[in-house]
Amino acid sequence: MTEQTAPMRERITLTVNGTSVEGLVEPRQHLGDFLRQNLGLTGTHLGCEHGVCGACTVIVDGHPIRSCLMLAVQADGANVTTVEGMAKADGTLHPLQAAFRAHHGLQCGFCTPGMLTTLHAFLSANPNADESAIREAISGNLCRCTGYESIVDAALAAARIMQGGA
C-alpha cells in the first residue's frame, strides 16, 4: 500500500432519470452509493453489496446492472434509470408498479426496486415473455417475503398491459 494522502477524486457527468447530473467521486465509490448518498435517490436499495441479492439493480444504457458492482466513475457519460424514474412526473405509476400493488407483489419492500428495474428492462426487451422466462429473468433477485408467486403474477399482468401500449 502506498501512503494515504487526500483521496483522488474524479469528476463525472451522467444522466439519471432524464436529468443531467455532475458528481465528484472517489474511484472506490460504487454507483449504488453515489445514487443514494450524493443524489439522495434512496429508492435503490443496497442489500449484500457483493452481487448476490439484486436489490440494487438499476438500468444503465438500457441494461439492468447491479449498482454495487459498478463504480460510479465508470458511469461517466451513462444514462441511468432508477426506480424513481419509473413513474410519470405526475405520479402515475408505471404499469409494473401498479401491477405490483394490485397483485401484492411486495411485502417488506426491500427487494422491490431491484425487481421493478430488472423487470422493466427485461419486459421492454422481451414484451412476449412467458412465466418461465420471467422467473429466469428475476433469478438474480432475492425476495424473502412473497415466495415470488405474487411477483410473477404482477409481472405477467404488467406485460399484458405494456404490450397493449399503455
Binding site: R28, I65, L71, V73, Q74
Partner: protein, 289 residues
C-alpha cells in the same frame, strides 16, 4: 463492504493499457467487474491501482475470420448471448451463457474477464476448451498466443504474466456439420455449476460418430476435456449403449470436493450429464446431416 482507496486509470487504447500495466505496481485490471468488485468490496483484494478496460473500443468485437469466431476480450456476455453470428455459427456459447450468473451480471460481465478470473465452475472457459480455443495476449514484449489447454496454471491462475493482458479469443469452427449441447446442474439457475458439460458431435454418412468433443466445468480447477472418451466414441453408432459407456468413462475422472458437494456426487453428475449431452448433440447432428 467498501473498497480500500485506489488510483483509477482509464486507457483508451491497447498500447496505452500495456504501458500503464507495466508502470503500475500492485494493479488490478477491471473488465466487467462482476467478480472483482465483490472482492474489492470485501477487501479480499486491496490494489493500489485499478485499470479500467471499459473504454478500449478495440477490445469489443465479434467476427468470423478464416473459419474461426474471434471475440474481443471486453465483449460483454449479454452481447454474445444475443449476437446473430454466434447464434448461427457457435450456438453452444449462447446455451452456456444462460447459466453464466444472472441477467444483471451478464450486462456487465465479459468473456475475457471470465477467462482471466478462471473460476473452476465458469462456463465460458469450458466452451473455449471444447473448441481448442486460442487466447491472444499483448504485453511489453509484444504479442503471443496460448492454447486453452495451457491456459490454467492452477486454481484461478491463468498463464498470464503480471504485465500482460488478454486481447481476444479465437474459436476454430468445425468444418463438418455437427450438433451441440450444453447442460449444467447448479442449485439454482445462475449459481455456480456443480457440474457443467459441453459437447460437440459430428456424424458420418453412415450415421456413426465421426468427431466428438466433450468438456466439463466445475469438476476440477480448470475445464477438463475427455480426450479418451472422445477417441472411444469415433466410429460408434449414437445409441443409448454408446452414451452409457461414455458416461461410465466420465464417472472415473478425478473431481473436486467442497463443503457442500462430495467428489463422488460430482462424478455421478458428470456421468449423467455426459450421457444426456451426447444424446442431445447427436439428435441435433442428425438434423444437420
Amino acid at each position: 463492504m467498501k473498497p480500500a482507496p485506489f488510483a483509477y486509470h482509464r486507457p483508451n487504447t491497447i498500447n496505452d493499457l500495456v504501458a500503464l500495466v507495466a508502470s503500475c505496481e500492485n494493479a488490478k485490471l477491471i473488465a466487467g467487474g462482476q467478480s472483482l468488485v465483490p472482492m474489492l468490496n470485501m477487501r479480499y483484494v486491496i490494489p493500489d491501482h485499478v485499470i479500467d478496460l471499459n473504454r478500449i473500443e478495440s477490445l469489443n468485437f465479434i467476427r468470423e475470420n478464416n473459419g474461426a469466431i474471434e471475440i474481443g476480450a471486453m465483449t460483454r456476455q449479454c452481447e454474445i448471448e444475443h449476437d446473430q453470428l454466434i447464434a448461427r455459427r457457435a450456438p453452444i456459447l449462447q446455451d452456456a451463457l444462460r447459466h453464466v450468473g444472472h441477467l444483471q451480471t451478464r450486462s456487465r460481465g465479459t468473456i475475457g474477464g471470465s477467462l482471466c478470473h478462471l473460476d473452476p465452475a465458469a462456463e465460458l472457459p469450458g466452451i473455449a476448451a471444447l473448441y481448442d480455443a486460442t487466447l491472444h495476449i499483448a504485453g511489453p514484449r509484444g504479442t503471443r498466443e496460448v492454447n486453452i489447454a495451457d491456459w490454467s496454471l492452477g486454481y484461478m491462475t491463468p498463464a498470464l504474466e503480471p504485465d500482460e493482458v488478454l486481447t481476444h479469443i479465437t474459436f476454430p469452427l468445425w468444418k463438418e456439420p455437427h450438433g451441440h449441447a450444453f447442460l449444467e446442474i447448479a442449485r439454482r439457475l445462475g449459481d455456480f455449476a456443480i457440474v457443467g458439460v459441453g459437447c460437440l458431435l459430428a456424424l458420418d454418412r453412415n450415421g456413426a460418430i465421426a468427431r466428438a468433443a466433450i468438456s466439463l466445468v466445475g469438476v476440477s480447477t480448470a475445464p477438463v476435456r475427455l480426450s479418451d472418451t472422445e477417441a472411444a466414441l469415433i466410429g460408434q453408432k449414437p445409441t443409448e449403449s454408446t452414451f452409457k459407456a461414455a458416461a461410465e468413462h466420465a464417472r472415473t475422472i478425478e473431481c473436486l470436493e467442497d463443503a457442500q458437494i462430495s467428489a463422488s456426487y460430482r462424478q455421478r453428475l458428470a456421468g449423467v450429464l455426459v450421457a444426456r449431452a451426447l444424446k442431445l448433440a447427436s439428435a441435433r447432428a442428425e438434423i444437420t446431416k
